[in-house]
């Protein structure tokens, strides 16, 4: 099992009040899974994604990623896990504006201490995978939305992560471009990548093989697509 969440809870303290965002969620994700997490806003899907993405730690419960307990790690240990195991794709792309496509994609390799000699080869490889070799020297503002998202996907792929976590990846794209991006994810999954998609759009979620629906911080349903 790639991911094993056991009775994960996350409680935020707002003023004097304790607000549970996620309540006792248990979830297992095998390798090569293509999973969509759905739910209305406030259902806890962002919190769950942050925990799975090792951006945040749960208040209680256990999270085992590749047989390693990661629910009690400190900031820098979490950063190491993110660097080696997680690839993020965001709704707003989040590319660094002053850097070229090449540099944006290369950045996780630099943080992951990849030797310089290997970096360029690896960057060209993933740029080919998303079909952006010719745009290597363009800056984000010279690219279309779909191209930007493909750069972001390339960046997520570069370290060969165990999980690609995509948070509303089509939210800022028109439906045609969104469809293209979903094709890319489909291709990546068929090539052996584990993908976790967070969305509130049913038709986007249907690209996944399995859909987990959240409501009020709990799993409401978990079924094949």
């Amino acid at each position: 099992m790639l991911i094993k969440l056991h009775e994960i809870s996350k409680i935020y303290t707002v003023g004097a009040e304790e607000v549970p965002a996620v309540r006792s969620i248990s979830l297992s994700v095998p390798e090569r899974e293509y999973l969509a997490i759905m739910g209305p806003s406030g259902s806890g899907k962002s919190t769950l994604m942050n925990i799975i993405g090792c951006l945040d730690t749960p208040s209680s419960g256990s999270y085992v990623l590749k047989e390693r307990e990661v629910s009690r790690l400190d900031d820098d240990e979490l950063a190491e896990i993110r660097s080696s195991e997680i690839g993020f794709v965001f709704q707003t792309f989040n590319l660094l504006p002053r850097m070229t496509t090449f540099q944006n994609v290369e950045l996780p390799l630099i943080y992951g201490h990849a030797p310089r000699a290997e970096r360029a080869d690896r960057v060209w490889q993933v740029l080919d995978a998303v079909g952006l070799r010719e745009r290597a020297n363009h800056r984000p503002n010279e690219l279309s939305g779909g191209q930007r998202q493909r750069v972001a996907i390339a960046r997520a792929l570069i370290n060969g992560p165990s999980i690609i976590l995509a948070d509303e990846p089509t939210g800022n794209l028109d439906s045609n471009t969104g469809e293209e991006i979903m094709q890319v994810f489909g291709k990546l999954n068929r090539a052996g990548n584990t993908i976790i998609l967070v969305t509130h759009e049913q038709y986007i979620a249907e690209h996944a093989k399995r859909i987990v629906k959240l409501r009020d911080g709990m799993v409401a349903s978990d079924s094949a697509s």
Binding site: A79, N94, G112, N159
Partner: protein, 403 residues
């Protein structure tokens, strides 16, 4: 993250905010520029003063009506009685005193055939003056005992005078007229050079007795002497003071009405001036670096706030706290060091300009440059640490959500 990558990324950021970066650097530029400029001026002053010390002779004790360095109330000086040749004879009798050369001075025009030099310093003295006041003769001879005894009209010329009056001929044995009186040139002095713009070579030395006969003897005499061999300077100075107080009937408890000058007086005066200069400089530098540093901190805080989302992204894709902190720290150090380099260039420019346009031999010293670099570095580090560590501690989730 490798250092090279951090540096590149810092440069990219600063370059994309050129005006802001330039304004931020200004305080550092001014601080380090002032540091280098003032230190180069002080180095020039040091060189000038060292030359002065050398030119006067290092173990000279000079008794005169007025002190070399006059400070405070100079009203009292006017009523002082002249020092006489007899005082010089009395000083010469002291056991702690070695060579003695009484000397008197005036300014006269010196002419030779068509050429003339105006207002040259004419010094009447004895042969010992050569050794005590550190003169050396390039050609011919100095004043002799015989010249003094016979009141001969012999003259030793400084290089400026010799050059002005005798462009193409050898001055030795030629006649010159000093204040209308005829003298024979018997010697030429070695060049001493300039001090703070005034030449030390614009002078003529004649026998003491001849001077008094031709130019009058109602002048205060300066008594230049050396301590007797093996005698400590303080002892000589004290003995001279006592004999002079007795001869001039200074009542017990009253201050001296004459001055016994030594190199120490000059040195301590010099230390006072440069000490004040150094303090003023330190003040300016400290202040402008403080102001500059605050500017740097302010801009770095703004930069951290502006780039909160970028920090979130970097953290999400694997940057550790240290990666972020070092990135911002390198940015602030880069900023101050660049300011430091510009300041050093500017300060050096000022120093070299002063050297070119004024007699002060200002010089840019490696110490000044090293100090300026160190100041710039420390400022960047000191005022960059807080914003940088704040950036490093940002929570990635909140940072990603920041608009």
């Amino acid at each position: 993250m490798e250092f090279g990558e951090t540096l590149k990324s810092s440069f990219r950021t600063l370059w994309s905010h050129k005006l802001r970066s330039a304004l931020t650097m200004l305080g550092i530029v001014i601080g380090t520029g002032a540091l280098v400029a003032v230190m180069s001026l002080v180095a020039g002053l040091n060189a000038a003063v060292a030359a002065q010390f050398q030119s006067v002779g290092t173990d000279i004790v000079s008794v005169s009506k007025y002190p070399w360095v006059q400070m405070g109330d100079t009203e009292e000086y006017r009523n002082r009685a002249d020092i006489t040749e007899e005082d010089a004879e009395a000083v010469e009798l002291l056991d702690s005193v070695g060579l003695v050369a009484p000397n008197i001075h005036t300014r006269r025009n010196v002419t030779h055939e068509g050429s003339n030099v105006r207002g040259t310093l004419i010094t009447g003295t004895t042969p010992e003056y050569e050794t005590i006041d550190n003169f050396s003769v390039r050609e011919g001879r100095f004043i002799t005992e015989f010249d003094v005894e016979r009141r001969r009209s012999a003259a030793v010329l400084g290089t400026d005078v010799a050059r002005e009056l005798f462009e193409f001929t050898d001055p030795l044995e030629k006649k010159v007229r000093i204040g209308g009186h005829s003298f024979t040139v018997v010697g030429l002095l070695e060049e001493k050079g300039d001090i703070l713009g005034s030449s030390l070579d614009d002078l003529v030395i004649v026998p003491f007795s001849t001077f008094e006969k031709l130019f009058g003897h109602r002048r205060s005499v300066v008594i230049d002497c050396q301590p007797a061999p093996g005698m400590p300077m303080d002892r000589t100075v004290e003995d001279i003071r006592q004999i002079m107080r007795i001869r001039r009937k200074v009542p017990r408890g009253e201050p001296d009405d004459f001055a016994v000058n030594t190199q120490d007086d000059l040195a301590s005066f010099y230390r006072q001036i440069t000490g004040a200069l150094y303090m003023a400089m330190l003040g300016i530098v400290a202040l402008s670096l403080l102001v500059g540093g605050i500017g740097v901190m302010n801009v770095m805080l703004v930069s951290v706030a502006e780039r909160t989302r970028e920090i979130g992204v970097r953290k999400a894709i694997g940057a550790r706290r240290f990666d972020i902190t070092s990135q911002f720290l390198v940015e602030s150090i880069f900023l101050t060091c660049l300011g430091g380099i510009i300041g050093i260039l500017g300060g050096s420019g000022i120093g070299l300009l002063v050297r070119r346009l004024t007699p002060l031999p200002a010089a840019v010293t490696p110490v000044a440059v090293a100090l300026a670099v160190a100041f710039a570095l420390v400022t960047g580090l000191l005022f960059g640490v807080y914003p940088a560590s704040r950036a490093g501690r940002l929570n990635p989730i909140e940072a990603l959500r920041y608009e």
